[in-house]
Amino acid sequence: MSKYYLNYLDELESEAIFVLREVCAQFQNPVILFSGGKDSIVVTHLARKAFHPAKIPFSLMHVDTGHNFPETIKFRDDLISDLGLNLIVGSVQESIDNGRVAEEKGKSATRNALQTTTLLDAIENHKVDCAIGGGRRDEEKARAKERFFSHRDDFGQWDPKNQRPELWNLFNGKHFEGEHFRVFPISNWTEMDVWNYIEKENLRIPSLYFAHEREVVWRNDSWIPCSEFLTLEANEKTETKKIRFRTLGDITITGGIESDADTLKKIVEEVSTMRQTERGNRSDDKRSETAMEDRKRQGYF
């Protein structure tokens, strides 16, 4: 009898595949929100598994802040062509040019919050009724209560006090015209699970995750990469460090950590001994104790 059980990673994979197949069955026009980060890469891989030998029945949607790591964009385009999928790009720059949003001002200005408008516009324009994300409940306290199937009203907003109860594996994706769902197939995965899975499946990930030499500046307790979008303060100076990134986001706010981990195996080892959460290097979460919850309410990822 003992052989009739799955190890935890296989069980998490099976659960995620189940969720992705429910999305396909319950929605007309789902997309995978693809950032080029490891979580959305894992979700895309899981979608490939869920529908094999058929093609992934979803488009990929990328919300482009315009402040990208060039490596991320190349990775995205290669993946799209390998899988033969359709790519939808929502451009924050376009939202700014069209006057939908205004650029933040000041030293710590980022385009992070602006993404929400671009995302919701893209969802509306492409009549998307389900946006699949790589969000995980272990990431942040506001996410700990997120459902697999998370309902958004016709303003794209999340009401944490009015979520649908979710029992067993019975997912209710019923919605009215104009509303959409966010679905999180890897809700129950932790950062460690994601890395163990990437290693087990030998997934291709952007080179930014591996230790490499880069010109950086010390800001907000982490190494921020130098780029054309970064303006140095008078007291700041750039250095070349061997770093890698634990999460990938907008290049202006994604901080690196000093590391020698240049293989998947070494990354898994490093992550397992980490004493800081991965979002500890994201200045977008440091703004206030409820920063993530406030953004999520408005329709953020």
Binding site: M1, A25, H52, K145, F176, T190
Partner: protein, 417 residues
Amino acid sequence: MIDNNQLLRFTTAGSVDDGKSTLIGRLLYDSKSIFEDQLQAIEKTSKKKGHEGVDLALFTDGLRDEREQGITIDVAYRYFTTPKRKFIIADTPGHVEYTRNMVTGASTANAAIILVDARHGVIEQTRRHAFIASLLQIPHILVCINKMDLVDYSEDAYNRVIDQFEEFSSKLLVKDVRFIPISALEGDNVVNRSTNMDWYQGAPLLHTLETVHISSDVNKIDARFPVQTVLRPQSESHRDYRGYAGRMASGVLRVGDDVTVLPSGFTSKIKSIDTFDKQLEEAFAPMSVSICLEDDVDVSRGNMIVRSNNKPETSQDIEVMLCWLNKTSSKPREKYSIYHTSNSETAMIKELVYKIDMKTLDRNTNDEVLNMNDIAKVRIRTTKPLMIDSYRENRTTGSIILVNDSTNETVAAGMIV
């Protein structure tokens, strides 16, 4: 390390004062699952609130409303891993008005932790938690007798709680109950064995969670495969491929098995069981696979593939223990969508047989309406037959939810009797 480690989902139910948040904080802290920046944030908040030392309970506080009110109002999920297992905690509040959250958290759990304050013994709330755990058929119940430090680690206090618990639990359907004396605040018997209670011979809580046998929690006998969607690639390499995608709800299916597709009753044999990585000889719960049949029969979402010699019951009239989840009460003879595995039909609550008084656990037969947090036995009629098993035998094919078609909200969850 990932090779054979299983996943254990457990639920913790408790109220504001019985130390539930402290217990979870203790489990996470002593198993080294709390990161430095999280700890620093808690230290900062503890200081701001004027607490002495670090208040571990703060770690499980989630949304802004809760932080302000100091109570947990929804189900929050926490994760930790030890070298032996990965754990998912469904953390739910324990007040009577949160019955629905407890039911939600319990629906996927292998184990339930029920906290009892050693000073107060078994109270109304303990009975309610145990009742819900048995209703939802959580296979393992761990009664943690907490705050042992406040009763001088007395064995008598521990035995008193066991006697009180067993007195009423004998009427419940629970398979495996264990009692562990702990102090979440001091850390006794949570992760590390207590040096204050030599009279206790059992294992600490974490060790129990790591070793409790869960492979038999899933039904291994009755093969049930609800079809989620049909895979038809129609590509060069797979021109005629027609795979039925789904997740094994229970039992085992093998290549060559004689199977019946329900509700149509068509019979065939399993030609192949496919995954992205490889073809399999057999599939068991909870694997997600794609099944191909020898014959070209009509199969679609909502159908169920089962072994021809072991079929579920097919019925339009089902008896259900129903938990009402919505602010809007039920109306007699109102219609709802019923979701069962991958199938959905229209249903009507024809009769409310009795309602459980959640304070006394007595049955109340003179009531027509279900309000939020009510649990009742009802008779439901569906427009088309469902392929059902009793919840006691199969948690997947024995569970349903009701959806209100005018609001699209999930209004009730039910366990088929």
